[in-house]
Every structure is written in C-alpha cells, then in structure tokens.
Symmetry: C2
Subunit: 445 residues, 2 copies
C-alpha cells in the first residue's frame, strides 16, 4: 500500500496536552541525583519514619483474615472502616459519607479540577504554591491567578482584588492594587467568580509557613462573604514541632470547603493513600469522577492502613516523626546561622535570610539581592549539595532569589555538611558577582 | 454577618460534571445485591483464582528486603523491573521505555482521554462496548460515535462510514449506509477525523466475542490507511479456553496503536495494577498526565506483583484460571441448552439465543422479540438470579433484548440453579406478554 500514510502523523493530541509539561522540579531532581550529593531538594519523607514492622503484620493479617475481599474489586468511595477512621480523626464533625478515599491526595486535586474547572475558569492559588496542584489543575485549562502571601498566609487585600469578578471575557481586568473596592456595584453582586482558592494553611509547600489564627478566621469569613469556595490541602498538618497549628479552614465552615488529607507523611507515600472530605453539593460528582478514573483506590492498601491505624497507632507514631523532624530542622537552623551569619550592618537584602518553620518538611530561604537560585544550583551541586529554586513554585511571576530546603531526608550530619557546602557555593557566586556584576539577576524578574 | 450568602450556592460545577453520571451498571448491581441472589451480573474475577499464598510471601519479602524503597515516593513511569517484565511478556517487540504502569487499566482510559480528546472530538467505540471506557472518555466531552459489530468484531463497512470526516461543525453528517464511498474528494484527503477507535478484540466486555484473524488484519490495515489510531484494551486476552486468540492489533502496528493491559484478571483486581504501552508520539504526554493525576501507582503494589511474577509464575497460574472459567462457561452453556431449549420450528427471534465465548468472563444472550432485558431483571431477581441488561453497554442506541451473563463468580452448582431461575423468569415474562401484548418492547427501541 503505497498511499498508506505514516502512522506517526495519525496522532492528534488534545489542545490541553500542549499545556501539560514535565514537572520542572522533577527535571531539577534529575540533575541533582548524582551519587554523593546531599539533597535538600526532594520532598520525600524520611524513610526512617516508615512503620515497616506494623505494615508487615497488617499485610499478613489482611491476607490471612479477608484475602478475597482485600484482593477483589471494591467500592469507589473507599473501604468503609477506613472512611470511618478518617472521619473520627478529623477535628470537626465529619460524616463518613463525606469521605472519599483517593489514590494519594494528588488524586484529590485531579478530581476537584475535573468537577470544578471549566476552560478559562478563574482559580486562585497562593503565591508561591504547591507545583503539583498547578499541574493537576492545568489539564482542565483554568485561568490560574496568584494571590500574594506573607508570613501569616494569604494576603486578604490581594485576595479581595483577585477574587473580584473579572471584567470582559477571558482577560483579567483587575483594579489597581491601591483601589478601595475592586467590586463596584451593589453588595448583592459582591460574589467572587473564582471557582475556588487553593490553600495550604499548615507548614506550606514550599515555604514551610503556617497561616495565623487571625488570618484563618478572617479568610474563612471573607470567603463565605464572597461565595468563594476554599480547597484546603493539609498533608503536613500533623507534623507540628512545639504546638499544633490553629484549627483548619474546613473545620470552620465545612459546607464552603473541600479538604484534602494524606497518609503519605504520617505513614508512607508508597501506598498512595489520601482522602477528600467534601460537602454534599460536590461529593456525588467527585465520586463519579473517581469511579471513571480508576474505579477505586487499591482495597488491599486501604485495609492495610485501616489495620495499622487500629488502636490509636498514629497517636504513638506521629510524635516520633515530629521529634525526628524537629531535630533536623534545628540542625538546619543552627548550620545556617553558623555558616551564613549576618555581618554587622548588613540589611536583609544583602544577606541570606530564612524562616523558622513550626512543622512540616521545608524551610524557605532568600538569597541576597542580585542572586538567582537557578544560577546558584549548579554551583551548589558542584559543592555537593542540592536544593530546589523557588521560582517554579510561583504560578505566575516568581522571586528568583528564593529557594526551598527540605530538612527531613538527610541526617543531621549530612545537614551540617550540606549547609556548609551551600554556604561555600553562595560565597563563590557572590565573588563572581563582584567580579562580573552584569550577570546579577534583576530582582523579581 | 447577615449578608453572608448561603455556602451551598458558592459551588459552581464545571460543565462536564453535568455529563458525568453514576454507572448504570453500578446502580443495577445495588438492586441485585440481595442476600441469596445468584449473580451473573458482576464483572468480578473468581476469588478462588487469587494467588493469596504468593501475595503473602511477596509482601513479606518486599518489606524485608527493600522496605524503604517500596514505601517511598517513586517514578511516575512505574517500577523499572515490572516495566521490563511487562515488555518481555507481550508478543511484539516492546521497549520498557514505552510501558507506563497505571492504577488499573481504567486509569489508562482516563489518561488517553486527557491526552487525545478535545471537546467535540470524534471518538469511535464498538457497539456495544465497555461502559467504563465511555465513562472515562465522557469528562473530556467527546462526540462518541458507535461502530456496528458482528460476531467477528468491528463492522468495517460501518467503520468506513463512521470514521469519515464529519461535515459541518459538531453535528455528524454521515452518508447513508449504502453509499459507496463516504469520503469524497481526492485519496490524499481520505483521512479519518476520529481521534481513535476504542476496541476490545479478545472476549469482549460485554459480548464475550473475539475478533477474527481476518477482521484484525483488515482493521489494522484500514486504520493505517485512514490515519485512525487504535486504542486496544485487552484485560481478558490471557483467559482463553481452547486456543489463544489471534495476534492483537498493537502487535501488528505498534506505532498506530495504544495498548492497555491489566493484572486484575490474571492476579487480582484489588491491587489496581494495569499498564499502557504507547508509541513515542504519545507516551511523554501520557506520562505527564499520569504524574499530575496521582504522581505514581503504589510502588509497594508494583513490587509485590513484580515479585510474584518472577520465575514464570503466570505461566503456571493462568492455566488454572482458564481451566476453572472454561468449566464454568461449559456449565452455563449446558444449563442454558437444558433450560431454554429451542422448540421445533422456532426462529432465532422467537427464542432465547446466546453465543459461545472462547474465553474471558462473559456470555451474551438475546431474549425473544418483544422482550426487554430491563423489564426481565426484576422478575429474575424475584426468582433469585441477577444479570446485567445489555442496553447500557451501547454508547448510542442499544438492543433492549440483550443481556450479559458472567459465568466466573458463581460456582457450577450456582450456575445451574441460576440459569434455571432465569428460565423461569423468562417463562413468566413470556406468559405475561401473551396476556398483555401491549407491554412488549419495540425491537431496537
């Protein structure tokens, strides 16, 4: 058949496929996966915290007591006893019928995107935010709008501007930042046109920040006023160091929020178990979407986790994770203070600054003015240490001076050596900038 | 805050959510899940075939030898040794780099839909077809077009008509069935505008039919001529009874096909493990979509299955499934012949007819003219037996007389009693139709 066309040309991709891209961070991680590199880059829980013996016992018990049910097709909602355990462990009144077990909390993001995002829908995210959420939303082709944040969380004045209905079609027409009210019109019309605000209130990825009590209360009230649904993602909330974070957002207004939870950080990520708690207005559609994407989350895994969690295991186990991660955070803070001390008279823009996360896995740092974390990375890798530049975490324009440091995977000894190596690379970079000042990055480019 | 709007009204669903519906079959299964009912309805593999002892050993070994890797985050592509095993067991030359491990083969359908379907894209499916595929495609809002089938598989004349470029916008403008060429224009333009044809060549769900060798060869050639990609779904192919089915479609033209495989029917569904084999033109986008939906399929499950499959386990195990299912199919065929015999002079339209599947899990039957399988179902449940009416498996208009009978979950004894109960319900229904003929269903309504 001479007229047979090349098969290659048979494939026509959906328009959304052009918007899907490999994770920038994943690509960065590839560069940093050289042997001997101390990595502050990954977001991997410490494998020391995986309760291997408990998993062994649970696997044996599940396969001995109920192998046929554990290995058969199962309900799309999830394993009923696990849904009950999830409902019982959350700090507000949750009906197990509102709990949907997902294949990792990442799947919750995909399901929410399918059910709530039309092409061009406005979706608000913190700036910076979890890159995987943006990747999950993108295939549904939303208009992603970044909302500014500070150390206390979402900036409510910026939220007020960004959640105001967009004028015209498609193109965002926002009033200037200083305008008194971006809404105009009568009070009854002051409803946001955003489909939701995606927010990580506890030990956020990437910044490690925790939203303050006052900000939470104000955010939930403002969102309710504006008819703005909240998508609360809480993978790290149990990993607090000195005291629990303030009450979550969904707990304050369950009908106005969808909550995403995960077992990845308190048990292990390799089982891919998370959950969604959703109000009745949304749950049935999330369930239908779930059924279409993978029928159900592996029933075997759900039974293992339900078995492990019996008798309050998490109450004994999670404190050991907190203790470990706190010690590693402290080691990183000490090493940073030792290796990158503030010299007398230096302003915050002239030196490396970092925050003190109250829990979770990540610390957020900022390089001196004129430096770029992307440019620093190869120099750091040369010195034997890796991190993730902050820029990819900004859905729109990012601060090129920022970087994310994970303190949970390396040991205390590796943290010390890694921070020393990081400091050397920054010094080298600084010396180069003095010699070749034209290579300095423009701030907030 | 008196002006606070009701939260309920805050939720705006995506337009696609209106097109998502609960699985009709799932709703039917709920009706039939009464205690004591013999069910030919579900598509559940027989739990007798689950290799529980091997899973126990594999769990113990994986958690003993490599717990940290098995329980940690992992690559989105899947566990490398499992990808190699998959590539090695397929009957054509597959590079492991083309294998993407999925959370059940259902997820493969979701990923393909995301990457290949735009709103309004034409997608061809067999009539009838697997309902779960239609459910996976629907959220991407395709124009699903049914292609007729016969006992040998896809009807190529109907395919030729249906895959011809659609005239106008949105509305299908097909030439009459008898037209010589639906294409018109020069040969160079004779390329299909369908994004793909979804096809189950082996022991199809729901019909149990197998596509003939001649039809496969002709379909692959025609698809290549027309630039029509094929999406080959093969969950049942290993479950042949007397001889293997003919070579698959992807094996004949790997660059023009995407292949979906599953471990659900040869090992167990509860681990949710399947795979996609895709050409280089599509694989990277499927991988990016996969990363966004659940990061990766549970690494623990992948290692368990890789461990179980070592040393040719499937070569010993799958024949035991074939033997079991063949005996159960034979029991069903015998019971049907005994309970629903053809009376002298009856035409095929006047009696119950059924096919003889050469493998898989399902048998396809058709009631006498004037009967509806949907109307029969409650009468059958009353007699103590359940099945799935065929109509929901047709993406567009369906034959209301058809029904699907699964022969793999009940025992031989239950099959005998269940078919006797089915025959009683059909006799009752027939007697009612004689008494009240106006209740008979219109053929092909």
């Amino acid at each position: 058949m001479n007229t047979r066309p090349s098969n290659h040309s048979a494939w026509v991709l959906a328009a959304r496929a052009a918007k899907m891209n490999p994770s920038v961070i994943r690509e960065i991680l590839k560069i940093t996966e050289k042997p001997g590199i101390i990595s502050f880059a990954g977001g991997l829980p410490s494998p020391k915290t995986f309760p291997v013996a408990e998993f062994e016992q649970a696997c044996a018990k599940v396969l001995r007591d109920e192998p046929q049910a554990a290995l058969q097709y199962a309900a799309s909602e999830g394993f009923a006893p696990l849904r009950e355990q999830v409902a019982a462990m959350l700090p507000w009144n949750v009906d197990p019928a509102q709990v949907l077990i997902t294949t990792g909390s990442q799947q919750g993001l995909d399901l929410v995107a399918k059910v709530l995002i039309d092409v061009g829908s406005k979706v608000l995210v913190e700036s910076p935010t979890y890159l995987g959420a943006v990747m999950a939303f993108t295939p549904m082709e939303p208009n992603i709008v970044s909302v500014a944040t500070d150390d206390d969380g979402v900036d409510l004045a910026d939220l007020e501007r960004k959640c105001a209905p967009t004028l015209g079609t498609g193109v965002s027409s926002l009033p200037p930042a200083g305008a008194d009210s971006p809404w105009g019109g009568p009070a009854a019309n002051r409803r946001s046109d955003a489909r939701f605000l995606y927010v990580l209130p506890n030990f956020q990825n990437p910044t490690g920040r925790t939203m303050s009590e006052a900000r939470r209360a104000a955010l939930v009230a403002r969102a309710a006023e504006r008819g703005l649904p909240l998508l609360e993602d809480n993978p790290y909330g149990d990993l607090w160091f000195d005291s629990p974070p303030p009450l979550g957002l969904t707990a304050r207004n369950p009908d106005g929020c969808i909550y995403l939870g995960s077992f990845s950080k308190v048990l292990a990520p390799g089982l891919r178990l998370g959950f969604v708690v959703a109000p009745k207005a949304v749950y049935p559609k999330l369930l239908q979407a779930k059924q279409a994407v993978d029928l159900h989350t592996p029933g075997f895994n759900q039974r293992i986790v339900a078995e492990v969690m019996k008798d309050g295991f998490l109450d004994r186990h999670v404190p050991t994770i907190r203790t470990l991660y706190k010690a590693q955070r402290d080691a990183m803070l000490e090493a940073l203070a030792r290796e990158l001390p503030a010299r007398p008279g230096q302003s915050a823009d002239e030196r490396v600054v970092w925050n003190t996360p109250a829990g979770g896995m990540f610390l957020w740092a900022r390089l001196p003015q004129g430096m770029s974390a992307v440019d620093l990375l190869p120099k750091a890798v040369e010195q034997g240490v890796a991190f993730v530049p902050g820029a990819p975490f900004y859905a729109t324009e990012g601060d090129p001076r920022t970087l994310r440091l994970s303190f949970v995977t390396p040991s205390v000894e590796e943290i010390r050596r890694g921070v020393a190596a990081l400091a050397r690379s920054i010094q080298t970079y600084g010396a180069e900038l003095v010699a070749y000042p034209e290579t300095a990055c423009a701030p907030f480019a």
